[in-house]
Amino acid sequence: MAEMHTHGTDEVLCREFVEIVTDYWEGALPEERLELVEEHLVMCDWCKVYLEQMEATVRALPEATVEEPVPEATEEALLTAYREWRGPS
């Protein structure tokens, strides 16, 4: 759809949606803008997929940031390497 959009009305274009997708997802858009975005989403599969991908990414983020324990031997090896790199204090 993107290549055939015209801008003679104040509709939202795909490239604009990409810029404001976070605000849309967080519910931070003013109502007037929100309506235009949702009108666009009705008929634009590309932006629907983009939004779904963003939602999937946000859902996956907590798992990606879980701290994994560092094995003791690895920690010691890293500290040794750092001390050698820094030299005597």
């Binding site: 759809m1 055939m4 959009h5 015209t6 003679g8 009305t9 519910g27 109502e31 007037e32 309506e35 235009l36 949702e38 009108e39 989403l41 009705v42 008929m43 599969d45």
Partner: protein
Amino acid sequence: MEGTELSDLVAYKFLRPGAIGPFSGFAWPAPAGGAGEWVEAATSRGPCRDGIHACEPPHLARWIWEELWEVELDGEIERRRHKLRAPRGRLLRRVDAWSAQTARRFARDCAERAAEHAGVAAPADSRIAAQMAADGDTRARAAEESEDPYVAAHGSAVSAYIAAATALRVGGIERHEAEREWQAAWLARELRLRP
């Protein structure tokens, strides 16, 4: 926009299969022998933080999904740009005349409208207008050839948009508005909607 009491209004709402809100994912209580349960906005039970949304027949073509429902709104109803907002609402009945088959017919008629607009384009716009009309035809054909109700509904929404965009390209905002009015009249007539 100022709040307006529109108590006698007949409002409509397009939903995904199973009466699911397309943006909220909210499962609307479907009517069982009467009207459905009231749904409040801005509560944990509500689908939207800022209100229950629906629209009037003139704007239906902008909101097409697989199911169309007649809804009752209550409280202070506001007319927004292309939709209505109210503190609460409930489903009254499904508009059975809106089906995948109807969507395919609407998609085809809108594609033909786009071709008509392209046919009267000024030379400077004729190439792009023809491309837009061809895109509309492709979308309508995809809707016609698919068994998937989503493809039919989406094809009709896109085809309607393309017809309006082609009209805009060819004749400016007046022709664009006239095209949207034609689409609204088509839906009102074929679906026998109450005004």
